[in-house]
Symmetry: C2
Subunit: 428 residues, 2 copies
């Protein structure tokens, strides 16, 4: 909570916390801080249950569905409703304050859904890079967007082509007799945990796929420290390290390693490459959510995208979830509860999307009534939620301007409804 700019009666700007420690989102949502003075707003960042310090059962779930079962988006939304009700009852001057929800990514989904399911509590929502339709989006769109970011970052698409070629190169190196290839890789890539057989390659490839994806998501025009410390325009930075020609697999993989280091070791402080390293935000429990109600299909073909070809295999996915968490995924649940792309009956939500961001494929890219879609061509993952920066592209500056305009409108609407309610109450 921050009440530096709060004036009693002013609005509450409420961040619907996503999968991670709430500080990570508070520190990377400068937009809310930037505009709080102009709106006399109270800032609240609400941590999502099962993340950060908000751990039921003392954080010990033992993969027990009877304990994990309370981790769901619906319960999180109900937490937010309860919290707001508590704040309004206890903070002097907040009882009639309009609440505007803000969130990015899964937090943006929660912001949108909070407005949809609790319009009595939330006057409007800024849902930045919120892939509410990722559950039914074509599974291949995501990888294609990541790829196009890398394609654009070097002449003739050489950067994405280099990455595309790396998967087979890794296999060939791993196949070399007497582990000579793996030994070379362990040493050249400074792997913290050396690979000892070709079967270890899956973990490395998963790590790489996530890394390229994260680079695309975090492709901000200035240095940031969200999922990892990164330079500005990190996709360009990584691609510029992978430019040179190569004639052997080892040369190719040396380029790749240079690109990887932009993400894995931008600070220069890592002594080895840890492919088991978590992101900065503490999102471990997300894998349970993805295994229960937030089932998002992804697939890659290696032709239209730069990833290793991999279909979406719900059966295998379910088997893995059962094994890891003891739960059966419910792939249709999120759409059933929230409606996916069908937001035609909702109101007062801005869905903003940076078009560099692969998650834009699962978001709302069309406006309907008071559902407003804002596209930010030069934007990565919820760039608009970040604080203002001299390096911001014009598109995000005008997106934020539009968002402020709508926030002002929603607050006015909400105050009018509140006023008419008081009037009617006094009459009766």
């Amino acid at each position: 909570m921050n009440n530096t700019w709060w004036v009693p009666g002013g609005p509450i700007f409420f961040y619907t916390g996503n999968e991670g420690v709430i500080e990570a989102f508070a520190e990377n949502s400068g937009f809310m801080w930037d505009i709080a003075p102009e709106f006399n707003a109270l800032l609240i960042f609400a941590e999502h249950r099962y993340y950060g310090e908000s751990l039921p059962f003392n954080g010990n779930y033992s993969k027990d569905p009877h304990k994990l079962g309370y981790l769901s988006s619906e319960e999180a939304l109900a937490d937010f409703a309860e919290l707001i009700s508590f704040l309004k009852a206890t903070i002097p001057g907040a009882d009639k304050s309009p609440v505007i929800a803000f969130g990015g990514s899964y937090g943006g989904m929660l912001a949108a859904w909070f407005r949809m399911k609790y319009p009595n509590i939330c006057a409007g929502a800024i849902a930045a890079s919120a892939p509410v339709a990722q559950f039914t989006s074509p599974c291949d769109a995501f990888g294609r967007i990541v790829t196009s970011d890398f394609t654009a970052a070097a002449p003739n698409g050489t950067c994405s082509q280099t990455i595309r070629s790396s998967w087979a190169a890794l296999d060939r190196v791993a196949d070399k007799a007497n582990n000579t290839g793996l030994d070379w890789l362990n040493s050249k890539w400074k792997l913290c945990t050396p690979l000892t057989s070709k079967s270890n390659m899956t973990g490395l490839k998963d790590y790489l796929s996530n890394l390229w994806t994260n680079l695309a998501m975090m492709d901000y025009p200035y240095p940031t420290t969200f999922l990892a410390p990164l330079p500005g325009n990190p996709v360009n930075a990584a691609c510029s390290k992978m430019l040179g020609n190569y004639s052997t697999d080892e040369e190719l993989l040396s380029h790749i390693y240079s690109g990887v280091s932009v993400y894995s070791n931008y600070t220069g402080q890592s002594t080895c490459l840890n492919i088991a390293e978590e992101d900065n935000i503490g999102a471990d429990m997300w894998y349970y959510q993805a295994c229960s109600e937030m089932v998002m299909p992804f697939c890659y073909d290696g032709v239209n995208d730069m990833f290793e070809s991999k279909g979406w295999d719900l059966e295998q996915f379910s088997k893995d979830c059962k094994e890891t968490w003891g739960v059966e995924p419910r792939p249709n649940m999120a759409n059933l509860i929230y409606g996916g792309r069908d937001v035609s009956s909702a109101s007062n939500i801005i869905f903003s999307n940076g078009l560099l961001d692969p998650w834009s494929s699962g978001s709302i890219l069309k406006s309907y009534g008071s559902i407003v879609s804002i596209k930010i061509p030069e934007g990565a993952h919820h760039l608009d939620l970040r604080g203002s920066n001299p390096l911001d592209p014009v598109s995000v500056v005008s997106a934020r301007k539009m968002e402020r305009k709508y926030i002002r409108k929603w607050i006015k609407q909400s105050n009018a409804v509140e006023k008419s309610r008081r009037y009617n109450f006094n009459k009766s």
Copy 2:
């Protein structure tokens, strides 16, 4: 399910079952059956979990919160969503069918909330006599409406005055020495379980309060058999039995007994008056719901209403709930989740209310945008949901006409959205 009039592609008329066996609602919702042919509609009546035959844990809850905790309106709504998803996936020609929700009383609340929370699944709702704001409605309004029905049913308000006088008369009779008063009452009123001390009087008074209330709710213009077998205009029928003058408490209570018999023994088949008798619909588990999330405050003053004076005592209520069910009531929960009277962000719901019905005090009596409030001055509890009858007042005939008009509109809207979705899908 009834598919007599179903034409594939036509709408699904979905009754959101309330607290009772679903047959009771199917048999008392003739409106849906009457209009199904005109709309080529499929009729579905969905039973609410924990009622009728829809009993988890084999119907054995042992007042155990770990078993009872799954009984809630939210879970019921999710059941409906799942059921519809299943029906659409399995009934040929139903996959794109617009769903219109219907319900009366708590079922009407569920119909309205279903549209509010699942607009992706439900195109519109007929919420008949749905007291969605009963949780914060002034607690005394309910009793005053019951009273005004009885006041209007006899000249000079003598009927409600007789009832108002009966509470003290019962006390005086119970106070008579050597139980002579109670003996007289046991014999005159043919009580199945004779009263043996004045403390038994509370149960008898509760029975009577409910009975007068039920008579007002069921004040239909023709004979019905919903909560109990009743003549047409049962409030008038009861009052006409209580018309005569009286000069003693015994005379007064004899009149009262004649009025009571209109409800308790309209068929003439009861040999004694059973004050422990349940309603016809099997609503026992409602008391758990009222003790957890559906906390409805009622109070009476005995001056502006005809009931014995009794304030709303949340503390005592909570104590009783704790004792009976092991749960602590959450009096603000329903409003928090559903918004109470604030339906300003919802759409496509008709709230219809008979003004003879005490529950109208907790419903929506004002229209907002596509939230339409219909008042039926001569109507009792969800009269409009009943089948057409030659004795119907004009007001209910025109209410049903309006409802049909809106249902047609919502179906058209829903088909248009579905069509544009298909079009966009084919384009992309």
